[in-house]
Every structure is written in C-alpha cells, then in structure tokens.
C-alpha cells in the first residue's frame, strides 16, 4: 500500500520525463542515420556511441521502473522494444550483417507496405480460412467431450490420462497425413488445427469443471438443482478462467498449425506457402513481412481474447487485486 502511495506522489523528475525521453530517441535517430550513411563501414567510435546510447536508455528505463515500484505501465516495455528495434537496425546496417541472415527492420517495413496485394490473400487463406475455423471447431469439440466426460466418471477416468499423454506429443506431425486425406486446400489445415486445439481445451475444461468447491456444490444440491442447472449457474462460470486459458493457448497453436501444415502442400497462396517459397528465392524481407503479419494477427487475437476474458470473468481474483 505504501509502495503505491510513494509512486503516486509527484516526484521531482515528472516535468523532465518528456525531455529525458527525447534524449535517447534523438541519439538513436542520429546513430541510425550514421549507419545508413556508411553501411558496413562505420568507425569504432560509432559502436562506443551505440553502447552509450544503449546505456542511456537503460538508465532511463531503470529510473522509470524505480518510480513505478512494481505497478504496471506501458512505458518501460515500449522503450525496451524501441531500443531493441533500433539496435537491430543499427547492427544490420552498420555492422553489415548479410541480408540473408537478417534483414533490417526498415527493409521489412518497406516490403510490408509495398506488398499488401500478396499479404492480404495469404492472410485470408491462412488465418481466416484455416486457423480460425479450426480453432473454433477444435475448441468446441474439446468442450463437448469434456462435458461428456463430466457426465460419466468412467469415461473421464479413461480419457483424461490419454489426453494428458497425447497433449505432450508432437501433434503437428499429423500435418502430412491430413494433407493426404483432405487435399491441399484449407480443409486439411483446419483438420490439423482441430487436432492441435482439441486436447488443451479438453484438459482445461475438465480442470475447470472441477474447480467449484464442495460447499458451493452442496448449496446447489440443497436448492434441488439438477446437473444442467448446476452446470449453467455454478460450474461453467467457475470453469471460465480455465476455458479462456485454453482459448488463448489455442490461438497461438492454431496459427502455428495452419502455417506449418502449409509446408506440406498448399494451393499457391497462404502464409506458410509464401514463407517456404520465398526462402528458396532468398527473399528474406518478404518472409519477415509475413512473420510481422502473423505476429500482429497472433497478438491481436490474443489481446481480444484477454479483453473478452476480463469482461466475462471480472469477478476472478486475478482481476480484482489491482
């Protein structure tokens, strides 16, 4: 409590924050310009300057973090990320790292904005046609089987050990089989994603359904509530945090499944197809542009689920403590 109070007090450095932010930004802007002016042939002094700018930004982040005292803020990770990208750019251009090994962020961004005509169909094919339907189907199937297991203890005792075992297996390996069964188009990708997302949902839902305590269940029984009512009024709401956990894990798994399954055969569109063909042609900027799209899609999907979780499980302790 006292920690929070100390953080809220207007400290003397508050006025200086924009000014102290401007310093490292300016420093890195100059350094990036310098690197671009003489790519691959910068003097040793340059790297000393880079180290100094890095130290400056680190010290700034240190001061901000000390003032925050453990409270959450977007500022430190933002600075950390910007510095990371600036160092990446400087290392690639100034250090003359081969384009094949790692293109600089500027080249990736240029490619990203220049090739929307390729990226959009790839996005539609991989994310909207393959990952999303598979994610929804797999989650639904896992949930349905979990409910069935919940009704029958015998089924639950039989399925749970197997599900635990299978969830540790490299399920993605079934991709070539699914491509053989369902063809090159999105159907086979949906099948892979369903197989990958089914087990996390099954395990998490089963764990969530047993999260309600004995007292609450006894209370429901004393109300004369049957299995359906108890499920709707008590056990499903209690299971929601677990279900959302599975939905979030599955969001990433679905994208991975859809992209990797495309390595085994696709129509001539899709993010995985583009990645594997552009690598063959050493078009690394296009590959990275696809990865940026995948990363944005993945984190926005994840973020949307987090917001939904907050709205649906606002009562959960993890959202009430702060």
């Amino acid at each position: 409590m006292s920690a929070n109070l100390a953080g809220i007090q207007p400290a003397s450095g508050d006025v200086g924050l924009p000014a102290s932010l401007a310093m490292p930004i300016l420093a890195f802007a100059i350094l990036i310009g310098w690197a671009h002016a003489s790519p691959g042939a910068v003097p040793a002094l340059f790297w000393v300057a880079v180290l100094a700018a890095w130290a400056l930004s680190w010290w700034l982040n240190h001061r901000i973090a000390e003032r925050l005292r453990g409270r959450r803020s977007l500022l430190p990770p933002l600075i950390f990320g910007l510095v990371l990208f600036a160092l990446w750019e400087i290392a690639c251009v100034g250090g003359g790292i081969p384009f094949v090994l790692m293109p600089p962020p500027s080249a990736i961004l240029t490619k990203l904005f220049a090739s929307g005509g390729t990226l959009l169909p790839d996005f539609v094919q991989t994310v909207l046609k393959s990952a999303l339907p598979g994610w929804a189907l797999g989650g639904f199937a896992g949930f349905a089987v979990a409910l069935a297991c919940d009704r029958s203890p015998f089924l639950r005792r039989g399925v749970l050990p197997i599900a635990d075992f299978v969830s540790a297996l490299p399920i993605i390996g079934i991709a070539p089989i699914m491509v053989m069964w369902f063809g090159f188009d999105w159907q086979s990708k949906v099948a892979v994603v369903v197989a990958m997302t089914f087990f996390p949902m099954l395990i998490n839902t089963l764990a969530g359904l047993s999260a309600a305590g004995h007292q609450e269940r006894d209370l429901m029984r004393s109300y004369g509530a049957d299995w359906g009512t108890t499920l709707l009024r008590l056990r499903l709401p209690m299971a929601l945090p677990f279900i959302f956990n599975a939905l979030k894990i599955n969001a990433t798994l679905a994208l991975i499944g859809a992209i990797v399954a495309e390595f085994f055969g696709t129509p001539t569109v899709g993010m995985g197809f583009r990645i594997s063909t552009e690598i063959g042609r050493m078009g690394l900027d296009m590959v990275w542009a696809e990865i940026v799209v995948a990363a944005l899609a993945g984190s926005m999907f994840y973020g949307a689920l987090t917001l939904l979780e907050r709205a649906a499980t606002f009562w959960h302790p993890s959202f009430r403590t702060r």
């Binding site: 680190w58 982040n61 901000i64 973090a65 000390e66 925050l68 005292r69 453990g70 803020s73 430190p76 990770p77 600075i79 950390f80 990371l84 081969p98 094949v100 090994l101 790692m102 015998f154 005792r157 039989g158 399925v159 197997i162 075992f165 540790a168 297996l169 490299p170 993605i172 390996g173 070539p176 089989i177 491509v179 053989m180 969001a251 990433t252 994208l255 991975i256 992209i259 990797v260 390595f263 085994f264 055969g265 993010m271 995985g272 990645i275 594997s276 690598i279 050493m282 690394l284 590959v287 990275w288 696809e290 990865i291 995948a294 990363a295 993945g298 984190s299 999907f301 994840y302 973020g303």
Partner: protein, 288 residues
Amino acid sequence: MTNDGRLVRILPVATVLAVLLALWYGAALPMNSGLPSFPQGGTLSERFLAAWALERPVLPAPHQIVAALWTATIETPVSSPRSLVFHGTITVSSTLLGFALGAVLGIALAIGIVHSRVLAASLVPWLVASQTIPILAIAPIVVVALGAVGVTGLVPKALISMYLSFFPVAIGMVKGLTSPEPMLLDLMRTYSAGRLQTLLRLRLPAALPYLFASLKVAVAISLVGAIVGELPTGGSAGIGARLLSGSYYGQTIQIWAALFAAAIIAAILVQCVALSERLTARAMGARP
C-alpha cells in the same frame, strides 16, 4: 485393495483405448476401399483383411505401423538412412541441446527478472508477447539463414528448440522464485543473508517443483521445435525429414511410423524429466 485401486485406474483407460483401436481397424475399410489398387469383390471379411494389408494405404492398420516400427528400429542397421534409430538420434540430440540451452536461458532470465525491477517492468511484457506470435513459422528461416552463413547441423534446430523451450521455464521459474512467503524472506533477512544466499538457500529450493513442471512442458515443445526445424532441410535426416519425405512419396506407413517414433520419444523424454524430479526430491529429503 491395491489391486482393486489399480483396476479402477486401468480399466477405463483400457476400455477407451480398445474402443479407439476398434474404430481405427473399422475405419480402415471405408478409407482404403476407394484406392484404385484395392481388390474388387470378396466377402466382407476378405475385404477387411485386404484393407489391413495394403502397401500404401490411406489409413494403415495399427499392426502395419508396429511392424514398420519394428523393421525400422530393430531389423535395420543403425547406420542405414532407413533406420528410425538413426533419424531419432539426430532429432533427440538437437532436442536435448536446445532444451538444455533453453532451460539455462529461462532460469537465467527468471533470476534476472526476480532481482531487477527494470527487467521485470520492461522484459516480461515482451516475453509474453513473444509467445503470442507463431514462433514455429520462423523455424525454416533460422535453419536456412544460418545455413547460408555456414552454420548447419544440430545448432540451427537446437536454436529453435531453445526459443520454444525457454519461455515456459522462465515463466515457471519467476513464479517459483517468488513463491517463498514474506515471512521466510524476513527470516533470511534476520540471518543477515545476502541476495545470493537467499537465492541459493531459499528461492531456488522453493522453485524446484515449478521448475520441473515447466521442464516437462519445455522438453515436449523442444521436440516439436526440432522436428519442425528438420522440415526445410529437404529430407536429409531426422524425424521431421522422415515425415516430409514420406509425404513426398506417398509412403503413409513411413509417416505413421515416424509419428509413432516421435510419440515414443516424447513420452520417454517427459518420463526422464519426471524421474529426475523424483530423484531430486529424494536427494533433498522428501518422503514419498
């Protein structure tokens, strides 16, 4: 009494497995009878027997996969490229290298995060964000890009495994290292223990259960990373290469055998972590 308890545990699992196996054998006929090579006519039992004995079935029967596994592991010399032991060894060695690197990196990051407020504030959101992006999609790039500058073999695949496995370890260890109660931390302070001593005597032992839980996840995901990392190398060696070449040439039994081999390897790796967890617990004085 113990026998009864074991029966209660094993009977449901055995039943579910038997049902799955029966469904598998049953599905082999409708799935395989569409093939042009499938013999026409015959009684139902003849058709079933034919469906279970095809050379390139759509769905191989379980006994065919087991037979292929037996041939590829026991009857083939280990040095042969048809031997699954040969491919498995390659995959397992890059898995283990990546797993070790990832575990060390994850533990180091967690120790840094627990002790430095800057790292906790600035790094943790990026760690979480890094896992919302489909990392495995980068696998082919890492392999090809490192190959272009002359780094080939185990290292590129191990780097992918490392990237995948450091995260569960880092997150689990942060949880574990911060799990000692304030009272215990205060006790260490009354002993005037330094940060290093608190880490070694209190935080690390307290984090061990969390560490082993994360290591089980990490070793499984590390194997996935190694297998996917073998895909873009174009079918030279490893379980992933075996999957890819199987899919190129329509060798379904080979794909299934490689999949089963991967499953067995995953199970063994997870069991090894579980065993080392039990041994560590015993060495630290835990009673069963």
